[in-house]
Point group: C2
Chain length 76, copies 2
């Protein structure tokens, strides 16, 4: 099985990498960019259930204070 | 407009964060995980064309030696 886990900052939490990227893009002349936000993907392969992947998120992959996670199953 | 850029390692390139995550998951008891790979998402908002977003990838967001990028337009 193949799962995709998307880890993103919760609404209202600062995204320092997004901020820095926005400034860098503007410095390179991409003036029309207004906002950049970032997220992280983990693609997890193995005979795991959705419940197990949720436990992985809570125990390791996501910071429950500042991050949300979203899990979706991919075609094998 | 809203664009999602997905940056992933090219096939055959090592993914150190994926490797470390795999080891950590196994240490936590998730024995059935066989492989973990990672990717990065940038969500870019502004009046930019797809061609401009491609230039952003080539100039800043992706490392052409080791990474591939994929661009898709999101609903506003």
């Amino acid at each position: 099985m193949k799962w995709e886990v998307r880890i993103a900052y919760k609404r209202g939490v600062q995204d320092p990498e997004g901020e820095t990227t926005l400034q860098a893009l503007k410095m390179l002349g991409f003036e029309k960019v207004e906002r950049v936000s970032t997220a992280k993907l983990f693609i997890i392969e193995g005979e795991c259930s959705r419940e197990e992947v949720e436990r992985m998120c809570r125990r390791l992959l996501a910071n429950p204070v500042s991050q949300d996670y979203e899990i979706r199953r991919l075609a094998d």
